[in-house]
Amino acid sequence: MATKASRSAARLMMAPAVILLMGWMLVPLVLTVFFSFKKYLPLRGDRWQNGLDWVGFDNYVRFVSSSSFWPAVQTTLIIVLGVLIITVSLGVLLALLLDQPMWGQGIVRILVIAPFFVMPTVSALVWKNMFMDPNNGLFAHLWQFFGAEPVSWLSEASLPSIILIVSWQWLPFATLILLTAIQSLDSEQLEAAEMDGAPILSRFGHIVLPHLGRAITIVILIQTIFLLSVFAEIFVTTGGAFGSRTLTYLIFQRVLESQNVGLGSAGGVYAIILANIVAIFLMRIVGKNLDT
């Protein structure tokens, strides 16, 4: 874009996309903020046409002072952290494994990526009914085979179960990104380290892992954004019971189960703030890592 003319032409041509995207984001955002300051209970007869009562920060105060708010934040963070730890560490190991030359590499790689193509709702249902069902699930049979009492996973260990399901879905993503990063490592660097007397674990720690640093931060960043809004897996499995209610799920319950749009919108604004705090924090780390 060298000349003034081509610059303004470019701006003109980009405008529709920019306006569409801005509208896409701004309209719901403004509406959410608008509702969060209103009393809006459709079942009690509040109607848009009749005008909604302005209630100031009441909804915000009520949302935070509810006994389920802090547990929901905690649950959200536990799920995000748990999934991140599992996917990143297993992802690195799988990527190392898949980088080795082996027979049937192409097929194995496709199989590893496969879970990513399964819809969250479907995979949660499959896990719930096929593996975790306390009567007919594969885990139950396995436990019985060893003479143990079958665990009813989703009620007794609801959070670990959900973390397991979500990790299974996101592991392929982490593996894929980390695999491409490993493939870009200059093999002469590893050979140089070998000549320098570094045993295999040191080579991993001193050469491979620092090389992967950038890819790992990107995996963490992208996954965090998506994991903060995990919903289908909880809806399908526990329905928010047994301590598995995340912030997203709490908002859903406020709006649809309690039919309190104002309160839910206030929760939505809190969720936006939380996501932004996490994002700023992560961008700092990524920025630092991408610099060097």
């Binding site: 002469e188 660097q189 140089a192 070998e194 320098d196 570094a198």
Partner: protein, 334 residues
């Protein structure tokens, strides 16, 4: 302290034998250069010595001890790679210190050695930079620094100058030669550039398709190439190779004459032809001559600036004493 012996070493990748049985002795303190066209197996040979590739059969001895099955780290060799293979996330100091850290040397000793190496290589001001912030020549020096701190019994260089520009290459060539004089350690150097080989080596090993064509000092190879391949490979510009009647009159299948051994004369030359491209270097002029009836092109070096233009007829007088004669198999006739 740095004698390397290869005995009947072979290397195959699958069914393809890239190095047929090969014997070679590299004496202690010697600067040996492996030279040959690309794909001749010279880098593979170096990697076999380093231990980065397993040999298929034969023995490698380093300092008189069998090293055939030793892992690279235990062979006491240091290698400088073509891409330098610096660790991008470590500072220059940490890069150079890495082999010492792996050898679990104590901090004070590491610091002393790293700073010593940095001094030798003029890197003291750059110790806290990352490799990405250095120029090509500086990176090259860091790679050498990482090799010398280990005080290895021999250095292996894998085309270390091929990523540098021409001017820097000449400079680094001198620095490496000087380093060799200073350290007096065995160095094995791989290159495809015969000028590097001629200027740096104590001993040149000319390789073609994994086979050693000739081993000798630079001047031995220049004066008495053992076969046509070596004759054509060593020397710049290339030796002129002439076969046919002219060769037969000298009792040979092919005769070779170097461009610098043909004189340009006013008339009465033994040979004559038309001038094609001429390259004027100031000190010398290289003429590429056609229509001589001897070979496609004949290259001739004239001292200084000779005033001949494209298409002019040129008279040439070869110094017959400088002819190299080869038989039908391409071997030198003594």
């Amino acid at each position: 302290m740095g004698k390397i012996e290869l005995k009947q070493v072979t290397k195959s990748f699958g069914d393809v034998q890239v190095i047929p049985p090969l014997d070679l002795t590299i004496e202690d303190g010697e600067f040996t250069v492996f030279v040959g066209p690309s794909g001749c197996g010279k880098s593979t040979l170096l990697r076999l010595i380093a231990g980065l590739e397993d040999i298929t059969s034969g023995h490698i001895e380093i300092d008189g001890k069998d090293a055939t099955n030793l892992v690279p780290a235990k062979r006491g060799l240091a290698m400088v790679f073509q891409s330098y293979a610096l660790y991008p996330h470590m500072s220059v100091r940490k890069n150079i210190a890495f082999p010492l850290k792996m050898a679990k040397m104590d901090q004070a000793a590491i610091k002393k050695r790293v700073e010593g190496a940095a001094q030798v290589l003029n890197l003291t001001d750059y110790l806290d930079r990352r490799p990405g912030q250095l120029s090509g020549g500086q990176r090259q020096r860091v790679a050498i620094g990482r090799a010398i701190v280990r005080e290895p019994s021999a250095f292996l260089f894998d085309e270390p100058l091929s990523n540098l520009d021409a001017a820097l290459r000449v400079g680094m060539r001198m620095e490496i030669s000087e380093l060799h004089k200073k350290l007096d350690t065995t160095m094995v150097y791989v290159t495809h550039d015969q000028v590097e080989a001629m200027t740096m080596a104590d001993k040149i090993v000319v390789l073609q398709a994994g086979v050693i064509e000739q081993v000798g000092s630079p001047l031995e190879l220049y004066r008495a190439p053992r076969n046509i391949f070596v004759a054509g490979f060593i020397g710049s510009p290339k030796m002129n190779l002439i076969s046919g009647a002219e060769a037969a009159s000298h009792d040979a299948h092919t005769i070779g004459i170097r461009p610098e051994h043909i004189d340009v004369v006013e008339s009465d030359g033994q040979w004559q032809g038309t001038v094609g491209v001429s390259e004027h270097l100031g000190s010398d002029t290289f003429f590429h001559i056609h229509n001589t009836g001897l070979a496609d092109t004949l290259t001739v070096r004239a001292i200084g600036d000779v005033n001949l233009r494209h298409g002019d007829t040129i008279h040439l007088k070869p110094r017959t004493a400088e002819f190299h004669r080869f038989d039908a198999q391409g071997l030198r006739i003594a």
